[in-house]
Symmetry: C2
Subunit: 454 residues, 2 copies
């Protein structure tokens, strides 16, 4: 007898991942039938026409095939050749060998310099792990934290479903805390305390709180005061903090800056809260989703626990080396005065400026549709608008109808979590400007017709 569905674990069956769920499957079917689909379901910039950063790809090509260091004169700027040579020397054996489990030390040292320049606080390169995208790092730390079925992890509502899926898969308890839609999706101490108290009353041992900043799917950007509030909350209740900071380059409003959890931890001299911070090559302006590069670093983690992290990483051998190189490129961009600097700045600026424009077009356009309201998109790559639905219709049905009618593929709010009695959807800001305008137009026409019909 073959395997049977009933033989699978409850945790596997209960795991949900809406970003690639049934609506996306239907979109792929429609595309095969010849329909044009606009994929707004996933933060995958290069699938929607964003061009890779030349500096990143030149480094990757040179490191993959070092013969190019001398075989293709005139093709690569001199500083890129020098950087590729330095990386190859740093890896010792090139990209074809497993690295140390934490990742190539030369690259971790570059990550440490990047963090120090950003935060004004040093970090030990041995507390940095290079990972296959940020997701793998998040999953490792959740596995570490969830020790029994009554262990709980606080996650925002709405959240990125990596968190809910992984906690379910590892048989922990999801402890949801609400983000305040009326206050730009900020974290609110009263909502945090209420969430914790409710979980504890249910017998849950709350181990950690996850924060996504800038927010996915909310687009909110936290300031230092809001971050300090979260750290004090964690300290008060003995929680670890997971700071998902993969959108740290994606900040759109004048005056806003990215503030890391690590910086606030350092500035306030907090020594009694364990912090894990995650970063990725997939977002920002690189948008190198396919390379699966990223890192996490940890603070205030006792040496015996850190040894367990190293052990778990060693079972998975190491992160892919191309991803490690892309991480180096991310933390070590061309410097002013180098031959590759001007093109890099032009490409970087073009992408970020265009994202900023699209964020405005999308949010303003959505707010013009009757029955749809959307917070300002301050950061990240998404809008999470609220939509008024007729009684008896849920957000999944609405999203499916939108797809069938317009070819626009978005994800229902229920996949991210939303306040009881509300309906939302998540859309990326990533389609090119003309398509973003078309999305707004078509979505408006669809919703007017839908609201009138139902």
């Amino acid at each position: 007898m073959t395997m049977q569905l009933k033989d699978l674990g409850k945790a596997v069956l209960a795991t949900e991942y809406a970003v690639r769920g049934p609506i996306v499957a239907r979109a792929q079917e429609l595309e095969k039938l010849g329909r044009e689909v606009i994929y707004c379901n996933i933060g995958n910039p290069q699938s929607l026409g964003q061009r890779p950063i030349t500096y990143v790809r030149q480094l990757l090509a040179l490191c993959e095939y070092p013969e190019l260091l001398t075989a293709a004169p005139g093709v690569f700027p001199s500083d890129v050749l020098d950087t590729a040579r330095a990386i190859l020397e740093g890896t010792r054996h090139g990209l074809g060998a497993y690295s140390e489990s934490r990742g190539v030390r030369f690259i971790r040292e570059a990550v440490a310099r990047f963090i120090e320049a950003r935060d004004g606080a040093a970090v030990d390169p041995d507390h940095i792990y290079l990972t296959d995208g940020a997701s793998k790092g998040v999953q490792s730390i959740l596995k570490l934290l969830i020790a029994s079925p009554t262990d709980g992890i606080m996650i925002p509502i709405p959240q990125y479903p990596l968190y809910s899926a992984t906690i379910t898969l590892y048989e922990g308890r999801i402890v949801p805390y609400g983000l305040d839609e009326a206050d730009h999706w900020r974290l609110n101490p009263a909502l945090l305390e209420a969430s914790l108290a409710k979980a504890q009353a249910e017998g849950t041992r709350v181990k950690a709180i996850c924060v996504i900043n800038p927010g996915n799917p909310t687009g909110a950007v936290l300031d230092a005061a809001n971050i300090a509030m979260v750290l004090e909350f964690a300290r008060k209740h003995g929680l670890s903090v997971l700071a998902d900071e993969v959108y740290q380059e994606n900040i759109y409003l004048p005056g806003d800056t990215f503030v890391s959890f690590a910086k606030v931890l350092h500035d306030r001299g907090i020594k009694d809260v364990s912090l894990f911070s995650f970063h990725s090559c997939s977002k920002g302006f690189q948008g190198e989703c396919g390379v699966r590069g990223g890192y996490f670093d940890h603070r205030n983690v006792p040496a015996d626990v850190a040894a367990q992290i190293l052990k778990l990483q060693s079972v998975s051998l190491c992160a892919n080396l191309a991803g490690q190189v892309a991480t180096y490129a991310m933390v070590n961009p061309p410097r002013p005065g180098t031959p590759s600097h001007a093109l890099f700045q032009k490409e970087r600026g073009g992408i970020l400026e265009s994202m900023k424009q699209r964020a405005v077009i999308l949010a303003e356009g959505l707010n013009r549709i009757e029955g749809i309201t959307c917070n300002v998109i301050a950061g990240a790559m998404y809008a999470f608008p609220r939509v008024e639905l007729p009684p008896g219709v849920n957000d999944e049905a609405w999203c499916m109808a939108l797809l069938e009618a317009t070819g626009i593929c978005v994800v229902p709010g229920s996949g991210f979590g939303q306040a009881e009695g509300t309906a939302h959807f998540r859309t990326t800001i990533l389609p090119p400007t003309d398509k973003i305008r078309a999305v707004v137009e078509k979505l408006g026409a669809f919703h007017r017709e839908f609201a009138a019909r139902v």
Copy 2:
């Protein structure tokens, strides 16, 4: 209060991974102190001087930086340029976008053709998943299979510790079955039945059997009859089969050929055993460990279970795209008559011929040492010799003493499992020929002195 060791789960604490354990840590310390270390602990060919296959690296460079398709005339053979163009078209968005969760379909179709040519049996490309090395695929399937703490997975003793580590981490039960050292480490039906009966008597629900062929660490190569025996055993007891076939190119004895579990399953018309087969870019003659490429395919898995596999993979988004390209290169080598064929054949032949020689030098050399016996190394990249130790000395102490005395880093047999009362170690065959000779010499001198001293 920060995280504490006591907050971690028992499964995390219990997980062991000897290939990167304390002996390797000590080796790294010695190296920092200026000692020469010969790393025989891990199958990492390019770290020991093996050169990458030019075809693979040219494809990777071209796909990473497609400008090279036209910018570097004369550098790349025309067929490699054509293949890179085909891959890029197959990915649709290049290497910078997430692919489908299963991996790029164009590449899965190439894997399906490779399997069909090898086995004479077709496979649905949607039953193939491209993975970040074979390890990630193995871990996914073990996660799927282990549904409760009484679920057990049969693994060979000795085994590759990915299996024991992952089963422990996912809180299943390890069900060990012995390989018959006296019969070239083959699988023996009596040992399988005894293992299963013992586990069942202990209340274990045995779900699957893992087989590594060619064997790691044993170097054994199974024939069709031995594989058929395993499949009939699995059928009789309703087990799934995990076939770890990452060393399928590494076959050294004249007359031996690699026979896949899938081929035997097909040839015998077995429809009631679920089979998962794993392959990797890290081994064979490519030895591209750093690229983290590989795949698994499944047979006789009901559609509802297959849907769960797809869902789990989707949480991890997709395998890295460079690894997917390397997998394409593995299953689609240059054809006779193409410009890149001659160099490819020369590189491939040189590596495999040299491995075959080193396997002989190592096994014969080890057998000349009094107190050490080693089976013929028929396949894979390792020897797992037995060593006679004085009373009161275990294999870990011996390996550590070997490292301190000679700089040779091997892994104790206890990390892989061994019959009660025996001691072994695992060494790779990967150091260059002159170093392999030095390893044999030094190891012999060390053991004579060790045996006399203790």
